[in-house]
């Protein structure tokens, strides 16, 4: 029950951050991809099944909030959550370098998938590819740096590992 509440609380916090405090940054072109960050965090902490579940649920909520193209966030975040969850068994989960790389890859994938929808599909990519590249590059850079800092600070504050040995029954 506690874990389910934590799951729901994390989803609420992520969606609130996205629609309130982070939206001014996004408007200035700096997309701090909190959806990708939270999915990576959850997948690293709880493994592939929970990572995919979190990615799907939070993606679905973001899709519902966005009015158009239901399923676009859910699809890519499911895949990201699953892939990172699978990697969680083989990578050094507490390493800052791991956080930087995984967050950058997850954000790049997420942005590269969702932006073409905003550009009107493959037709829009013809003239919009510089914009797409900018979104992917800036988003990946900003999210990986900010995310790694957040995880580093969290580890310092709590004085123990963020991911610990939670990956036990994750699948």
């Amino acid at each position: 029950m506690r874990s389910l509440l934590a799951f729901l609380a994390a989803m609420v916090v992520v969606l609130l951050l996205r629609s309130t405090l982070l939206s001014p940054f996004a408007a200035r072109g700096i997309v701090l991809d909190v959806l990708a960050f939270a999915t990576v965090f959850w997948a690293l902490r709880h493994g592939a099944a929970w990572g995919a579940t979190f990615g799907f649920m939070v993606g679905l909520a973001a899709d519902l909030d966005a009015t158009h193209w239901m399923g676009r966030h859910a699809l890519v975040l499911t895949v990201v959550g699953y892939a990172i969850g699978r990697l969680a068994r083989t990578v050094e989960r507490e390493s800052v370098r791991t956080h930087l790389v995984l967050l950058a890859i997850a954000t790049a994938l997420h942005q590269a998938w969702v932006v073409p929808f905003e550009l009107g599909g493959f037709v829009g990519l013809g003239s919009g590819w510089p914009y797409l590249l900018g979104r992917v590059f800036i988003g990946a850079l900003a999210t990986s740096l900010a995310g790694a800092v957040v995880l580093f600070v969290a580890r310092r504050l709590f004085g123990k590992s963020v991911f610990g040995n939670a990956l036990v029954h994750s699948g």
Binding site: V12, G29, A48, A52, G71, T78, Y82, E118, G128, H169
Partner: protein, 269 residues
């Protein structure tokens, strides 16, 4: 954290396949999926939390805003006095000509609780809904100008479809010249508002103001929309492509006002 999820990797693969299939199905179904009710429940659940977070943000800005607003009130009081005398003069001049008097729109205020969309907001949650008399199709404005229209209405909340929504279109005219066009959002090659369908025969200049036109069924005439920042040719080369900077700050709104649309123009979004 194993909980109800299957532990074996084989089964977690099946779970992921289910999620992926569901996502693809939703993408394929598109707008046919009934989302309004779900969005309404979500907006209602999140509204108190949105209020708390936004209030923290607003408290920090309130001191500076308070000073600015006092100055603005003083300036508006002076302007109001001048306008009242002009209105009296206007009425006196219109009466002999048999022209109808001007009826100002009634404004319903609301607080912007959340903005949705990355990197540009495409919709906003407003703290006024059906109970406050808000209806689908009403125009939403700030003190600076038009921000969009009401797309969905819930009991105590509503959702504004902003000018930056890919499906939004507003019939506009250039102030003083009366040049007509349709304002749309264009994401390529970069996100911007563009006044389309303006023939080359019409002369427009950078800096001119753009207002809602009388051709619009949804919006009252004369609401400021923005000003012209660039004039060029459209991709096909048949019409002008005019970039508009919005009058309202669409990414940093705190309050908005709802202008009831004409009663015979209740159009589904």
């Amino acid at each position: 954290m194993g909980g109800f999820l299957p532990p074996a990797e084989r089964r977690s693969g099946a779970l992921v396949a289910l999620y992926v299939a569901s996502s693809l199905l939703l993408l394929a179904a598109g707008e046919r999926v009934p989302q309004v009710t779900l969005r309404g429940i979500g907006a209602t659940l999140f509204a108190p939390l949105d209020r708390i977070i936004m209030s923290v943000d607003r408290v920090t800005a309130s001191w500076r805003e308070n000073r600015e607003l006092h100055q603005r009130v003083a300036a508006l009081e002076l302007e109001n006095t001048r306008l009242r005398s002009l209105e009296a003069e206007n009425r006196a001049l219109r009466e002999p000509l048999g022209l109808p008097g001007y009826q100002g729109p009634s404004l319903g205020p609301g607080e912007i609780l959340a903005l949705t969309g990355e990197p540009y907001a495409a919709s906003a949650t407003l703290s006024a809904g059906a109970r406050q008399g808000v209806r689908v199709g009403d125009a939403a404005v700030t003190s600076a100008g038009l921000v969009g229209r009401i797309g969905e209405v819930y009991p105590g909340l509503s959702r504004i479809v902003l000018l930056t929504d890919p499906n939004a279109a507003v019939a506009c005219e250039v102030e003083s010249t009366g040049v007509l066009g349709v304002l749309r959002f264009d994401a390529t090659p970069r996100p911007r508002l563009v006044l389309t369908s303006v023939p080359f025969a019409d002369t427009v200049r950078v800096g001119q103001r753009v207002l809602t036109s009388g051709l619009s069924l949804r919006y009252p005439r004369g609401i400021p929309v923005g000003h012209i920042t660039r004039v060029g040719a459209s991709e096909g080369g048949l019409t002008q492509e005019i970039e508009i900077e919005p009058a309202a700050r669409l990414t940093r709104m705190r309050y908005a006002f709802v202008i009831p649309g004409p009663s015979d123009a209740r159009i589904t979004p």
